[in-house]
């Protein structure tokens, strides 16, 4: 009985303030979509970090006829120098830390290059002799790259040692900046949503001031008076949160899985799990925000 009464009150309240309710829905929808996007970006960063953490290798670039860096003097590494690097990698001081390594000669490097930049004009400009011979090293613990750096520094025939993860850090920094921006926008929008909710609830209370006056007079409990208003805000925000959840799913479905995955086949991308994991966050945030905003608003209205 009381539940039915409260729900009816919520219904009339929502219908009476339809335009305000629509604006609450839109604002929460957009702000929570930003929250969801930020969360997806973080998930993507974690996904990539996890993927590359295992696969990132250390590249030991050997000298070519054109290199002047490191221990090179515009002379390509000799067979002895190559053997020397290999001996270092096999040495008892390094060997326990290295999982695998392999040698990539010029032709293999060229083939890989052509494959990686297929369709780009740069392919025509490059010939095998420009590309360095490389030792690709996978470590047991990918963070212990210092060992390789120390062992290879100054070794004859070695041009440079590069940790692939340093490239990834740049990508991560970019994605992080994107996700921080999304969070900042979301925070501003959430403030706007909270203010909008509290204004709407006050308006709703004002349009029902006769009923409220009588309720207070005949001794309806405060909770009973407040509940319809709080629910009103929560229902509107919930609709916005559900729409935002749908938007997050759509981003994963159409943009990530439908577009990015086919465009960038070598990169790992988040799956639907990330979208589903975000939804409770969005709905929880929406409900909590609306409940707090409408409670604060209606209690202030009723205290007077």
């Amino acid at each position: 009985m009381r539940l039915g009464f409260i729900l009816r009150e919520v219904g009339t309240g929502l219908a009476r303030n339809a335009s305000m309710v629509v604006s609450i829905i839109l604002v929460t929808f957009i702000s929570l979509t930003f929250v969801g996007t930020a969360s997806l970006l973080q998930a993507q960063i974690n996904e990539m970090r996890g993927y590359w953490f295992d696969r990132a290798q250390v590249a030991i670039y050997l000298c070519t006829d054109f290199s002047t860096l490191g221990g090179c003097d515009q002379q390509q590494a000799t067979t002895d120098q190559i053997r020397g690097v290999e001996a270092q990698l096999e040495s008892p001081s390094l060997q326990p830390y290295i999982e695998t390594y392999y040698f990539e000669d010029r032709q293999m490097a060229y083939d890989n290059f052509r494959e990686q930049f297929a369709g780009s004009q740069v392919v025509d400009l490059v010939s095998p002799e420009f590309l360095p011979e490389t030792f690709w090293v996978s470590l047991v613990d990918p963070t212990q790259t210092d060992l390789i750096f120390e062992a290879m520094a100054g070794l004859a025939g070695v041009e440079s040692v590069v940790d692939q993860r340093s490239y990834l850090d740049e990508i991560f920094a970019l994605l992080n900046a994107g996700s921080i921006t999304a969070v900042a926008v979301a925070a501003l929008m959430l403030v706007a949503a909270a203010l909008l909710i509290s204004t709407t609830i006050r308006l709703s209370a004002f349009s029902r001031r006769r009923e409220l006056g009588i309720m207070r007079l005949v001794g309806a409990s405060n909770r009973f008076i407040q509940t319809p208003f709080i629910l009103e805000g929560v229902v509107a925000a919930l609709v916005g949160a559900v729409l935002a959840s749908g938007a997050v799913w759509a981003i994963v479905h159409y943009f990530v899985r439908g577009y990015l995955v086919t465009e960038l086949p070598t990169t790992v991308f988040i799956s639907y799990d990330a979208a589903f994991a975000t939804m409770p966050l969005l709905i929880g945030t929406g409900i909590a925000l609306a409940a707090v905003a409408s409670y604060a608003s209606i209690s202030r209205y009723l205290r007077v």
Binding site: R210, I214, F224
Partner: protein, 275 residues
């Protein structure tokens, strides 16, 4: 039942206190008129009983409870044993008579079964049994006030507060309202009624408490409306509607010409309306 002990009330920013050292004791089952000119403090007194305001000094006991000791969250529970009626009825225009009365019970969580038993019962008491499905705008002023009384009485309150319930009504209709209030009083409810209606007070011959400038000027059992706060003038000699009826003459107010400018009070106008 209602006990004021040396109560004063000063509103913030007001030059004069609304009530000064008011002591008052109302017994269960009494019917008390509260009279006095506008601004004398009648409404403040009613608001204090409802715990809508807190006294600046002194203590108030209602239904054996010290109002100062009722915590804010228990106030709704306390108010369920009080009924209130206003001059302007305060009905909900979009609800029928039945729903207006039922609303009171719904919001304090009564069952549907109880509501369907209690509401027709109380509508019978106030004489509106046939109008349950009408809307307030379809009713006369007197009928609307009966709805308001039904709403105040439906939960069988121990105390009924009425703030000028007949202020907007003509004498004949007012008499009907007083009839209803008397009936409710007879069933055991204590009634405290603030009013300007001298005819009613004089006719009912109940306890009269007169407030003047925030002080109790008179507390009389079976009193009349004679009051020191309205200056004596020729109007005092005019018969009240009740006296006029008793003397067989046509009640004066029935002769009021509606075409007269309402701001211009005719000299033979019933004096109680000027109060």
């Amino acid at each position: 039942m209602i006990l004021f002990d040396d109560v004063s009330k000063v509103y913030r920013g007001a030059a004069h206190p609304a009530l000064t050292n008011v002591s008052l004791n109302i017994q269960p089952g009494e019917f008390v008129f509260l009279v006095g000119s506008s601004g004398s403090g009648k409404s403040s007194l009613l608001r204090l009983i409802l715990k809508e305001e807190r006294p600046s000094a002194g203590s108030i006991h209602v239904l054996g409870q010290d109002l100062r000791r009722i915590p804010a969250r228990k106030v709704p529970l306390f108010r369920r044993s009080l009924g209130v009626v206003f001059q302007d009825f305060r009905l909900l225009p979009q609800k029928t008579v039945f729903d207006n009365v039922a609303f009171t019970l719904q919001v304090i969580g009564k069952s549907q079964g109880f509501i369907h038993e209690a509401v027709p019962d109380v509508l019978q008491t106030v004489g509106l049994a046939g109008k349950a499905q009408n809307f307030p705008h379809e009713l006369s002023g007197g009928e609307q006030q009966r709805v308001a009384i039904a709403r105040a009485a439906v939960n069988k309150p121990e105390i009924l507060l009425a703030d000028e319930p007949t202020g907007n009504l003509d004498p004949a209709t007012s008499a009907g309202i007083m009839n209803v209030l008397s009936r409710i009083n007879a069933s055991g409810t204590t009634v405290l009624m603030a009013t300007h209606d001298a005819g009613i007070v004089n006719q009912m011959q109940r306890r009269v408490v007169e407030i003047s400038k925030g002080r109790i000027a008179r507390d009389e059992h079976q009193g009349g409306y004679q009051t020191t706060s309205i200056p004596l003038g020729e109007a005092d000699t005019a018969p009240t509607p009740i006296q006029a009826e008793e003397s067989g003459a046509t009640p004066i107010r029935k002769n009021v010409d509606l075409s007269v400018d309402p701001d211009e009070v005719p000299s033979q106008f019933p004096w109680e309306l000027r109060a």
